[in-house]
């Protein structure tokens, strides 16, 4: 009886050794992990036969940014292999997108990356416009650019807040949230909502900027930069903050490219790539800004790159303030843009267009297209297939966080579990976009 038990345990440990290869990714199902999680004991002596254990972290852990769950293979406090488990926020938004018209589409995609909703709307609109073959008025392009850069500021401020909170700098959380609120207040004034705006739509934007928007922008440009300096004073020279970030979660440029990583995480490795400069969309070729790169690719670089990107975005916003052209804020193509309310009372044609656009939706020529923008988290792509109807035949969003999450096991490998928290925070995943 005892011999049998010992024999079974030996076979089990062979299996364990085979599974524990040198790679950083824990590739097993939850059931297999649950079997491994039971610490085997020698049935005769009662000693623990295996020091390693499988630990579950999340999905309801405050440092996992929503509903990220991790399976961690631990030896003591050291993380060996790990596996991110996602899908807790999966609501089938790509399927939903196939059942909404192109005009309704932005209301759907804006809920994906809820920290930077305008980028999802933008990329969906850009893809639709490429299929339609329509030109957007210059002012609409510049309004889009203004709103997106402010959204990048608010998103990176959110990162600064949560990153500080995860590392114990709780006052940073309050400060980051405070400045983000200033930006969201401007969004509310322009779009009516703080988040999930449905502001950027195929054909332009939903409404023109309100009167006096320049003063609001000048106010933002006045208050945010000095507070960024305060963050640097607060965080950069704080020994605990530095010790917990420097040299933690180092990523090489080659690794990042192999893992399809984009955005600040790629740039923090020292790799110089930004879609705004390298594949200019909107009017980014007409404004001046620097692409911020890091040197070591560690968590501190990812923090520093995002902080400096706020400054660059504000620099772009400052130029937009002077360069904003006059004109229409949406295309005058009557098949795409609903007529103004006043026209409906006097023109039968306007009434028909209004009715057709809001019931059936406008038809988009058959074809397929991929559009990409540089969101605060990396390359946000939208792949749309149209069968000539008023709804996308297939609508796929390439979420940057989804690809970036694949770096977690590599960044955590061989580090302490406390570093895992710093690493998750520095990758800055938005689970709404990961799970879609």
């Amino acid at each position: 009886m005892v011999d049998e038990a010992v024999g079974a345990m030996d076979m089990g440990s062979d299996e364990r050794v085979r599974r524990r290869d040198r790679s950083a990714v824990l590739r097993m199902t939850e059931v297999e992990a649950a079997e491994l999680a039971i610490t085997p004991r020698n049935p005769i002596t009662g000693e623990v036969a295996d020091e390693r254990m499988i630990l579950n972290m999340g999905p309801a852990h405050p440092s996992t940014h929503g509903v990220l769950r991790l399976l961690l293979e631990m030896e003591g406090e050291t993380v060996l292999r790990s596996k991110p488990i996602i899908g807790y926020l999966h609501t089938g938004m790509e399927k939903t997108g196939e059942n909404l018209t192109f005009l309704q589409g932005p209301t759907n995609v804006t809920r994906m990356d809820y920290a930077s909703p305008l980028f999802s709307e933008l990329v969906f609109s850009l893809a639709t416009e490429q299929l339609l073959g329509i030109e957007v008025p210059t002012r609409a392009t510049w309004i889009r650019m203004l709103m997106c850069e402010l959204n990048r500021v608010s998103s990176h401020l959110l990162f600064q807040a949560t990153n500080g909170m995860d590392l114990g700098a709780v006052s940073m959380m309050i400060y980051g949230w405070r400045e983000r609120e200033e930006v969201l207040r401007f969004f509310e004034k322009v779009t009516g909502l703080r988040m999930n705006h449905n502001y950027i739509r195929p054909g332009g934007v939903a409404a023109d900027l309100p009167d006096g928007w320049q003063d609001d922008i000048r106010h933002l440009l006045e208050i945010i930069p000095p507070r960024l300096d305060e963050y640097e004073i607060l965080l950069n020279n704080q020994p605990i903050f530095r010790a917990r970030l420097q040299g933690v979660g180092v990523l090489e440029p080659a690794e990042a490219l192999a893992l399809s990583v984009t955005g600040p995480i790629l740039r923090a490795t020292g790799y110089d790539w930004d879609l705004r400069r390298d594949e200019p969309y909107l009017a980014y070729d007409q404004v001046d800004f620097d692409v911020v790169v890091g040197t070591c690719g560690d968590s501190f670089d990812r923090y520093a790159v995002r902080l400096e990107e706020i400054r660059q975005s504000l620099h772009i916003v400052e130029q937009i303030l002077d360069l904003m052209p006059d004109g229409d804020y949406r295309t005058q193509d009557k098949k795409v843009t609903p007529p103004p309310r006043a026209r409906i009372d006097e023109s039968m044609e306007a009434l028909i267009h209004h009715f057709k656009i809001f019931t059936e939706g406008f038809h988009v020529p058959e074809g397929e297209v991929y559009a990409a923008v540089e969101s605060p988290r990396g390359e946000l792509g939208c792949y749309i297939v149209s069968d000539g109807g008023p709804k996308p035949y297939r609508m796929h969003i390439r979420g940057p966080s989804f690809a970036n999450l694949q770096t977690l096991p590599h960044l955590m490998h061989g580090r302490l579990i406390a570093d895992a928290v710093a690493v998750i925070s520095s990758v800055d995943p938005i689970m709404g976009e990961v799970d879609r």
Binding site: S260, E366, G381, H396
Partner: protein, 166 residues
């Protein structure tokens, strides 16, 4: 590596087309892996996107070049070349009765999660994938919801704690 390259060069050139100004290649399933490998050697350094389209209810698409037989599934891969600042898209036809394609994991490890997602939502299998499992849906889920024959709301949402009668 050189074997695959040689076969690609000897074989007929991969049919190409453009869509909204974007270049698209249409390799067959046999040439898929070799094409991606030679593109990677040419400088396409990162696989940005991988997804699947189910053309069940839109079979007569007209954007395929001559000689490409449309099938139900299409695996769509987006590659990017940073040095030349170009992108290329591959569209691979996958028949409904044998929905398998080789995995790109060995060439671009970043496609691991994307291929899992494609398998999860479309039921297209990727041969040679190191962790061929569902990623977004629960492991015991039945069906592949982004297929066109899975209707919206067709599956009643069940909560494990919900009692049968209220």
């Amino acid at each position: 590596m050189s074997d695959t390259e040689a076969t690609v060069e000897e074989a007929a050139p991969v049919p190409a087309s453009t869509s909204c100004g974007q270049s698209v290649l249409h390799p067959g399933r046999d040439a898929y892996l070799g094409t991606v490998e030679s593109l990677r050697n040419e400088g396409y350094c990162s696989a940005i996107d991988l997804t699947v389209v189910d053309y069940l209810t839109h079979p007569g698409r007209t954007d395929l070049p001559e000689g490409i037989e449309p099938e139900r599934f299409e695996v769509v891969v987006g590659l990017i070349d940073h040095a030349r600042r170009t992108r290329i898209r591959l569209r691979v036809q996958v028949p409904a009765d044998d929905p398998t394609v080789p995995s790109l994991f060995d060439l671009f490890p970043g496609t691991e999660a994307m291929e899992r997602e494609a398998f999860d939502l479309f039921g297209v299998s990727f041969e040679g994938h190191p962790d061929h499992s569902r990623i977004l849906l629960p492991e015991d889920w039945v069906g592949h919801p982004l297929r066109k024959d899975e209707g919206i709301g067709a599956i009643p949402v069940q909560f494990k704690a919900a009692s049968e009668r209220r």
